[in-house]
Subunit: 645 residues, 2 copies
């Protein structure tokens, strides 16, 4: 059993990749402080305002205002603490640290003598406590606070918040379960499962693993707990906001398809995958492979967006992937990052890394503007602003990123992903070291082979040149597993200490396996071809028929009105199109793709319908990375572009 | 000023076209009796049950049950009486006639001493009377009852219902207006405008014209009346169900675009067009031309469906014409028939007849099954049943016609259209006779030239051969105006008494104008080429890009799963495709189009996305008329088919 999710300590990874270094810097210097303002209600936005910190003050008896919903804002506190903690790794900041301490002190005040800790059920509706696990988000908030506490502890060594959360967990573990006087509940919105597994790994305390197992196994068992809660039916009809929305319509081991609210599903699957890797539970593992297949073969966008269906922010049926009305929440793609990462703990398969990479660089990063201060919740693959502004069935879509949301899960979630991006690079087990992602960094690892330092230089995501230099005192025998991204297909080369290696016979699960005795200053150079590629969707996806997407390396590209004019639907490219790459310096720099093998139909006359075929003329088509769309003003955007042979 | 909407008396038109004769027979023998059962609450359907007659009984004090909404069911009574009356023309039926009499007696009982007559505001909520013109549908119901009364009177000579309605109108004309103690209201749902113009033409009483003019001119004037009604805001937010939904956001003469609830808009425009033709009001005429352009150039489907936007059952913005989630209500296409017909009273332009014809044979007729007893409310141009069943934003769509609807406007509306189809054929003015539609019939007209009989044999909609034989005592000098449908373009021929006529110099507004002295037994033969044609949409319609529609004569065609397999999106046809026509005997007979110039992409592997281009193979593609879709079980359907050069 591999345990290659078992990542090295973040403290010992220094991100050197300019792409990420810049983003981490913006996060630390600008966004984390900005989000502190936001969760203190000092950022106004058309999409609402956040009162997360004030709610804590109210619950702690420090303030007399009215508690402001949504009821799950403690989770934003948790996510902010987590992101802020990671940012301290790179950019020590006394003010931010003191804000975190302030939050921790507040949490201490809020915590009840019995350990219970949730601002909403303390300040706003104590009478509803333990009566609404379906919609109350108690365990969800607990999970996020716990992740924040762990991060803060791991970065600073300060354990006050972690102790608070451990007390809360003791309380919850007493309260929930099958025993006498216990409530057989679990969380309407999964998250705590991931947090518990992290806590288990940090503390090695089995009780957290056991509690996580209980939460996953109990879910959806007959009689389904949520149905016993009085408010359950009132909150939404069973079809759309009911048990399958919660991924609680059947026991987890019986789940056949990716279904329900996409973020809930991703978080649950992520927690379950980590549990499966730890417990080697075969049935659980099979369930996860099944859900992976369902997601990746039939229910995910090419941008790694998940949640095609706006109503319920949920998965739709197989192959139903509308490009303009989809939900594809930023948090759901982040959830896919978490899940894919943990699937790497089950099996060596480059596909997990492929989708993780795709989710990071496309569906997740598109959620944040270049300035770091504007966000998308919904990440469509096709936008026509006039239509979006008019249509009721697209009222969830925004054509421009906004500064903050009343229901503000995505922005702090992005921050914690960015500031902890080092987590996705490596894995290790007894046999060796896994390089899952090529993000330039410097890292030290301890393992039974001894201590090893790794210096990775990488041009990702803009070019496919990677150089890894090993550092060690004495020679070490281990396997270096290098992931071959699927977009490069067979176009890759490996050199060791300057000498080309034929590695075609050393492939396992899409990884190059270099087993040998390594020496200090050994150099591994890898070249992955990042030539632009044309992607075709399965014919079953009606919305993509007749269209192609363009990918370059890990990046999915798109066309925007600002570069190509209005009516992007009238643009075609040849499937043999040749793309010229050029480095643009705006938006922090990116590679633009330009092809002369484009065509534009000229069918815009006065008639709506006619018997005359539209004229077609050659045109230049410019594409930019999808994650950068919408940074240059409002306009049309399309990922799937019509093609002609 | 032409007045070519001035149709001959329906009693003097005998429909001989098998296509329509059969439908009228089914209507008279099966559907009208069936709909009588339905409005008596004796037809169950997943979409609800109707209590229209029982509501009248309750209001008349004959029954003690609870009044059942929707509140506008008196209109179904009106439409049923109208349809049933027309059906008596072709199929005298004592039982049906006695049911109508029964209804008339009920209406007499319901009518209050002051003339007021509306079951809902009498039986259910008398306290709300005159307080909810925006949503109460009083004037809408009055209009339909009046149209029913007129039809019954015109067919049977029985005037009891007409007298009842005249009393009601006297009451309304006293109550509404600008005078002292009057309410400056108009109808939230237009319809009464059409009915008043009919009554005016039947009675020549100017007061009805004046009232109609008041209702149209008052609409949308500041301060907008509906806003003074207390319930107005509560019923829906201003954006979606507000003033523009009612076409009351500005004075009618200031309306720029087809907007709001599509049926409301169509009925209002139809009434206004008849008023404009009668009053020769230049401003009103210009407004109608503007609204026509807006509708036909930018906001109508190729099937003549109107109302792209499900929420609000309304027009969307220019060129926003989604094929799968549209509303395109049967009644809205019927409304377009009414409107286009009345636009013919303003100007001689074949375009009115084109869209009238397109609406009748496609968007309207698709609303009814071959059996006459199952109906669509919503007429999409693309259906994938699994998606429709799952998606919340398509919950208005049905994949199969259902027997009846709780809100049942479309079925009886279709019946009155079918049973009075003779109305759309002719127009006349002082100069001559207009042949707008080629539906085989025998007809007598009286005019100042004397009496003339017309026998029209026509192969429409299956073939374009038409023969018109005139009958008269003495020679008459007049112009015969023959509409050239736009789908035939220049492929038409005319013979008079067996001799080819070069008519290219005799065209006005797309009509052939044959001015001469006509004799008894003069024969005019016309041949319109009905070869299948490929239609291209304006490039601004994103949803149709890369696709074509196929038309043959007045019929728009579509592909169905039963003929072409699943995944219709993977089918392409060449834009030079040759179609074989073959007569099929099922579904009362139709011409199927078959082409070997089709292709099918074979991209359905296990992968959702791949770098390999889908294989493509030649395939046969079968098309059938759109109005017949969904008569052979559930399956996919598509009007817009991908094309390749």
């Amino acid at each position: 059993m591999l345990k290659n999710y078992d990542i090295p300590d973040l403290k010992r990874i220094r991100i050197e990749a300019p792409f990420w270094k810049e983003r981490i810097q913006v996060a630390a210097e600008k966004v984390i402080p900005f989000q502190w303002e936001a969760i203190n209600g000092r950022v106004e936005s058309e999409a609402g305002r956040s009162f997360a910190v004030r709610n804590l003050k109210i619950a702690g008896g420090l303030c007399n205002e009215k508690y402001e919903e949504p009821l799950f804002q403690d989770s934003d506190i948790g996510k902010w603490v987590e992101a802020a903690s990671y940012s301290l790794l790179y950019h020590p900041n006394g003010e931010i640290e003191s804000h975190i301490d302030e939050v921790v002190d507040l949490l201490e005040r809020v915590q009840l003598p019995d350990g219970y800790l949730n601002s909403y059920f303390i300040a706003a509706h104590p009478e509803k406590r333990y009566k609404n696990f379906a919609w109350g988000h108690e365990l969800y908030c607990c999970g996020h606070l716990l992740e924040g506490a762990l991060a803060y502890y791991q970065v600073t060594g300060k354990d006050k918040m972690l102790r608070i959360m451990e007390r809360y967990l003791e309380h919850l573990m007493k309260k929930l379960g099958h025993g006498e006087g216990q409530i057989p509940a679990y969380s309407g919105h999964p998250e705590i499962e991931i947090a518990l597994m992290r806590l288990y790994h940090a503390t090695k305390e089995k009780k957290y693993l056991t509690f996580c197992k209980y939460l996953i196994n109990e879910r959806g068992r007959e009689p389904v707990y949520f149905e016993s809660e009085s408010g359950f039916d009132k909150e939404g009809d069973i079809k759309w906001m009911g048990l399958d929305y919660m991924v609680a319509d059947k026991p987890f081991l019986n789940q056949e398809n990716a279904t329900g609210h996409a973020v809930r599903a991703m978080y649950l699957y992520a927690g379950a995958a980590e549990l499966a890797a730890e417990t080697q539970d075969e049935m659980l593992e099979q369930t996860l492979y099944r859900l992976w297949e369902s997601t990746i073969r039939r229910r995910v966008y090419v941008t790694a967006g998940v949640g095609a269906h706006a109503y319920g922010e949920r998965f739709s049926i197989d192959y139903d992937l509308p490009n303009d009305s989809c939900y594809t929440e930023t948090c759901a793609s982040i959830g896919l990052v978490f899940w894919a990462q943990r699937m790497q703990g089950l099996k060596l398969d480059t596909e997990y890394g492929d989708w993780l990479e795709r989710a990071v660089y496309n569906g997740a990063l598109s959620g944040i503007a270049v300035d770091g201060e504007h966000y998308f919740y919904v990440n469509p693959l096709e936008v026509r602003p006039d239509v979006v502004h008019y249509r009721y069935d697209m009222k969830h879509v925004k054509t421009q990123r906004v500064p903050w949301y009343g229901c503000c899960c995505c922005p702090p979630n992005l921050m914690r992903m960015i500031t902890s991006i080092g987590k996705i690079i490596y894995g290790k087990d007894d046999s060796g070291l896994f390089i899952h992602q090529y993000i330039g960094n410097q890292c030290d690892i301890d393992w039974k082979q001894g201590q090893c330092s790794i210096t990775m230089e990488s041009g990702f995501p803009w070019n496919g040149n990677v150089k890894i230099t090993l550092g060690m005192q004495e020679r070490q025998h281990f396997t270096l597993y290098l992931r071959i991204p699927s977009w490069t297909e067979n176009s890759w080369l490996v050199k060791i200490n300057g000498k080309s290696e034929t590695c075609r016979d050393k492939l396992t699960g899409g990884y190059i396996c270099l087993e040998r005795e390594w020496s200090d200053q050994d150099e591994i150079e890898i070249y992955f071809d990042m030539s632009p590629r044309i992607i075709y969707a399965n014919q079953a996806v009606a919305e993509d028929s007749g269209c192609v997407a363009v990918q370059r390396g890990p990046l999915i590209y798109c066309v925007e009105e600002i570069d190509n004019g209005k009516m992007l639907q009238s643009i075609l490219i040849k499937d043999s199109a040749v793309f010229k790459e050029s480095w643009k310096t705006d938006m922090n720099g990116y590679i633009e793709l330009v092809t002369e093998d484009g065509m534009k139909e000229k069918g815009e006359g006065v008639q709506l319908y006619s018997y005359g075929k539209p004229e077609i003329c050659q045109t230049q088509v410019k594409l930019l990375p999808y994650f950068l769309w919408g940074n240059r003003g409002e306009g049309e955007m399309r990922v799937w572009i019509r093609y002609s042979v």
